[in-house]
């Protein structure tokens, strides 16, 4: 009967649609663990530390944040949630990063001679000359930063390879660093997914004690190696944009007086803000911390304590900042020295 | 009491219904109906409100599925044969359905666009002709919203008459029409009949049915309680010979003495009813006996009487 056949076809289409919805929903989620040749933790760590430059690439980086920080207007990425960045790297200090939001975008372009920062919200362009980089201390290459962290934590950790994973469609080893029992840290473990071929970190997962899910996870969701369009690494301020030169930074603000107390997982960094710098003059890109945290005081003085799932920070009233992936007592101990 | 006057076997039928039932929840709308509508007939479907007339028509047209039984239209089972049959069927069911924001002509053009048998080029002419035929020529370009009940009914009729049909089914076509409109409907039915089409008309206006129909089907509480050719149905229900006379007692005695069944009937005027008897013989008998015969006629009750009696008895 024609009606029955049509009804059957209609039902089939409906089921295909419903199943398709499920497939679309889980796509990019669960992959089978890839089969990769076994590797020892030592070899894996060494290969990460000595990996060759992966060359030009583009990709999407996703940050899953479950730190429990309140939202700061200047840093929407700090609040709980997911944020994305699209990155293009052309080698030779050529790079482009796009930080999209629902209603706008920040774009950072490094064309080899100038670094441009575009903000679509107020249509401003801030340019500063490249080279003579003052902020070498904070590596711009996230892969290098992760490698550096592994090197620092290695001595005080148990290092293991916990199977394989697929990250951004690429096979990867899961490198797990667990703090030694003597370390006084809030962290349970740090997992690094290392690309099996290029040996660069693809994903970093930080797990805190007392919670099952990751506190922070940052990693590629898409990654393609290969030559990039050179036009990506140029920037021409669009009509109607306000272009300003970045203020020449006061050396004192650049070379903050930083001391490090302890080593390994319970390292505490203590920074001293230059006298006279208040939150009002700290510049638009420095988050205003005075609004958050709880007041604390002790033999070291008084200040505000900010705690998250993976670390704590104390901003003292005399201008010092102590921070680390440690519980608050470790910070006050460090401040008391 | 069922008067079933079976159609002659072999006669072509426009519609055939067997054991048809339709149940809505706990309500039985149509119960075990058998019905043949001969080709070329004008069938009047009678019944009080809620007797299942409209449901039966909807089942015939395949607008709703039977709970049991079968319906055939123009020799094709419904609703599966709808695509083959319905192009040849014009229907006005449950009142006229049109869009209030379009004019009568635009509404009719939309209907015409969906008619399989109407070539695209013929649509404007067919629409105009149908509007003229139902007497809406002057109001064609007014919005349907502003139509009176009668005009809406006429437009519905026009929709059923856009092209020559083998079967036209009209559900309460005279609803809301003034006497002139009723006359128009009667004329249109007569024209359709003369053209050879089969017509099914449901109505509660029994005079309309009697004036225009060749066949009749009477429904009550979902059941068919009488069905057949109108003339034969009336004959079968004839009350025999009615003799008007002042000497009723003498007349009854005379007739009974002659071995005939007879009884008094003083309903209108004094008289005697002879259920079975030939008129010349009865009259001769009475005159010979000295009974004053004022009038002698065949007792043919009007349909309304029949209808009332049928429905009353069945209750």
């Amino acid at each position: 009967m024609a009606v029955r056949r049509t009804a059957r076809i209609a039902a089939t289409i409906g089921i295909v649609g419903a199943v398709g919805l499920g497939l679309v929903a889980v796509a990019g989620g669960a992959y089978a663990q890839p089969q990769l040749p076994p590797v020892t933790p030592e070899d894996l760590v060494n290969s990460v530390l000595t990996h060759a430059d992966p060359g030009p690439f583009n990709g999407t980086v996703e940050l899953d944040n479950d730190l429990g920080l309140p939202a700061l207007p200047q840093m929407p990425q700090a609040a709980n949630g997911t944020s994305t960045a699209r990155v293009w790297s052309g080698g030779n200090h050529l790079g482009r990063v796009a930080l999209p939001t629902d209603t706008g975008e920040r774009t950072l372009v490094s064309d080899g001679t100038t670094r441009w920062a575009w903000n679509s919200d107020d249509r401003t362009v801030v340019k500063r000359p490249a080279g003579a980089q003052a902020d070498r201390a904070a590596p711009t290459d996230p892969a290098a930063a992760v490698a550096q962290a592994i090197a620092e934590l290695r001595a005080t950790s148990t290092v293991a390879v916990d199977g394989t994973a697929t990250v951004a469609g690429r096979g990867a080893y899961e490198l797990v660093l667990t703090p030694a029992p003597t370390e006084r840290t809030l962290l349970r473990e740090v997992r690094v997914a290392v690309d099996a071929e290029k040996r660069i970190p693809l994903r970093l997962t930080v797990l805190a004690t007392g919670s099952s899910g990751p506190a922070v996870q940052v990693g590629f969701t898409a990654l393609t190696f290969g030559p990039q369009d050179p036009a990506l690494f140029t920037f021409t301020p669009p009509p109607g944009a306000t272009v300003t030169d970045a203020p020449a930074k006061d050396p004192t603000t650049q070379h903050q007086d930083t001391t490090t107390v302890g080593d390994g997982w319970d390292t505490v960094k203590i920074m001293r803000r230059p006298a006279g710098t208040t939150t009002a003059t700290a510049g638009p890109n420095t988050p205003d911390l005075s609004a958050i945290g709880t007041p604390v005081s002790g033999t070291w003085g008084s200040g505000r304590l900010i705690t998250t799932a993976v670390g704590s920070a104390i901003v003292t009233d005399d201008g010092r900042i102590a921070a680390g992936a440690v519980p608050a007592p470790v910070l006050t101990d460090a401040l008391s020295r | 009491m069922t008067f079933a006057v079976a159609a002659d076997p072999g006669t072509a039928v426009a519609a055939r219904v067997r054991g048809l039932c339709k149940v809505f929840g706990a309500t039985v709308a149509v119960e075990d109906v058998d019905l043949d509508i001969p080709d070329g007939a004008v069938l009047g479907m009678l019944g009080p409100n809620g007797s299942g007339k409209t449901t039966l028509i909807r089942l015939l047209l395949g607008l709703t599925r039977p709970s049991a039984g079968t319906a055939e239209l123009l020799n094709h089972p419904m609703p599966t044969g709808a695509a083959v049959v319905l192009p040849h069927v014009g229907a006005l069911v449950e009142g006229p359905g049109f869009h209030p924001f379009l004019s009568g002509r635009e509404n009719l053009r939309r209907v015409a666009a969906t008619e399989p048998l109407l070539p695209t080029r013929a649509i404007p002419a067919a629409v105009d002709a149908a509007l003229e035929r139902v007497g809406l020529g002057n109001a064609a370009d007014r919005r349907f919203r502003g139509y009176s009940l009668g005009m809406k009914q006429r437009l519905g009729l026009a929709g059923a008459l856009l092209l020559p049909r083998r079967l036209v089914i009209l559900d309460e076509p005279t609803n809301g029409l003034d006497p002139a409109g009723t006359r128009d409907v009667r004329r249109i039915i007569a024209e359709l009949h003369a053209g050879g089409a089969t017509v099914v008309v449901s109505s509660h206006l029994l005079t309309e049915v009697e004036a225009t129909c060749t066949h009749v089907a009477v429904l009550q509480s979902g059941s068919l309680i009488a069905e057949g050719e109108l003339r034969r149905l009336l004959d079968a229900d004839a009350t025999g010979l009615v003799v008007t006379t002042p000497d009723t007692d003498l007349a009854v005695a005379t007739l009974r003495a002659a071995g005939l069944d007879a009884y008094r009937d003083d309903a209108d005027e004094p008289g005697v009813v002879v259920p079975a008897g030939d008129a010349p013989g009865v009259i001769a008998l009475l005159v010979r006996a000295g009974v004053a015969v004022h009038e002698a006629r065949r007792g043919r009750p009007r349909l309304e009487e029949l209808f009332a009696r049928l429905t009353e008895t069945a209750t």
């Binding site: 009606v3 049509t6 209609a10 039902a11 089939t12 289409i13 409906g14 649609g17 419903a18 398709g20 919805l21 499920g22 929903a25 949630g81 699209r86 796009a98 999209p100 629902d102 209603t103 706008g104 975008e105 107020d122 249509r123 362009v125 898409a222 990506l232 920037f235 021409t236 301020p237 669009p238 009509p239 109607g240 | 047209l61 395949g62 709703t64 123009l74 020799n75 709808a82 695509a83 083959v84 319905l86 192009p87 040849h88 229907a91 069911v93 009142g95 006229p96 359905g97 869009h99 379009l102 635009e106 939309r110 209907v111 666009a113 969906t114 008619e115 399989p116 020559p164 053209g195 089409a197």
Partner: protein
């Protein structure tokens, strides 16, 4: 009266009106309907209002923040912003109204019966109605895009025939038009999914208002579900969660992932909606 076809010729006679004629009649009916015209008019107002608002605000202060702010002095952004803004409520409303009238409305008018008696086969009827809804969706988005483009160029056209993307790059008129066209096609696809679901509701009810309530209620429920952090796993199933992807057309280079995901999701909703509509219409009494 002319001669009637005999019984034998029934099978050979045409069984359906030409499809183009059916679709044409449906489109004429849809576009003649006053409420369709009213909502198209309302939609045409949206880009005009945005343009006027941005121009007035622009004279007092600098460019505002957010998406609307991106329109200031950058007229070719207006069609895309207008479509994005309207996609939240007004466009689905227009489509839901069309779908409500398409089946439930025709039933309420008593005209669905007429179509089935013509006869229009039940499958074709669904096709005809789906086409009508699609035409309304396309007309609504096109009105936004065209009026948006005109208003953008006339009122806020500081950058002239160029489009400044959110990423800070400048596109020529050709690329800008291509992106506007892409957003239009994409948005019509999303609305087709809304329309298919609305049509299914329309087929299952006799009251047009139920369709409107169901679609608007559904949008609100989806919005609430999408905003609950613990239900984040539900996001990929929600049709509305991909609707901000139209903004991606204003980024450079344009990320297509968001629009693709939303399109696949819309196709799935479309399949489910149409299938439910057909399943109901094959059995529905009229």
């Amino acid at each position: 009266m002319s001669a009637l076809p005999d019984t034998g010729s029934l099978r050979d006679a045409p069984r359906t009106a030409p499809l183009r004629r059916l679709l044409g009649a449906e489109v004429r009916w849809v576009l003649r309907r006053p409420r369709t015209l009213v909502i198209l008019g309302l939609l045409a107002l949206i880009p005009v209002l945005i343009a006027v608002g941005v121009t007035v605000a622009g004279r007092r202060a600098g460019p505002g923040r957010g998406l609307i702010g991106a329109v200031a002095g950058n007229g070719l952004v207006l069609p895309i912003v207008a479509v994005t803004v309207s996609l939240a409520l007004l466009l689905p409303l227009a489509v839901a109204m069309a779908a409500a009238d398409a089946i439930a409305g025709e039933t309420a008018c008593g005209t669905l019966r007429g179509l089935l008696l013509a006869p229009v086969s039940r499958l074709r009827l669904v096709g005809m109605k789906a086409f009508g809804v699609l035409v309304v969706a396309a007309a609504a988005v096109l009105v936004l895009a065209v009026v948006g483009m005109l208003a953008g160029l006339l009122v806020v056209g500081e950058t002239g025939w160029q489009l400044v993307t959110l990423s800070g790059t400048t596109l020529g008129i050709g690329q800008a038009l291509a992106r506007i066209a892409l957003v239009v096609v994409w948005a019509v696809g999303q609305l087709a999914a809304v329309g298919a679901v609305a049509l299914a509701v329309s087929a299952w009810t006799e009251h047009p208002l139920v369709v409107l309530a169901a679609v608007l209620g559904g949008l609100i429920v989806f919005g609430v579900l999408g905003a609950i952090p613990t239900l984040e796993w539900l996001q990929p199933y929600l049709l509305t969660s991909g609707w901000s992807a139209a903004v991606d057309a204003l980024r450079d280079p344009m990320p297509l992932t968001g629009m693709w995901d939303a399109t696949w999701r819309a196709l799935c909703y479309l399949a489910v909606g149409l299938s439910a509509t057909i399943a109901r219409m094959l059995r529905r009494d009229a």
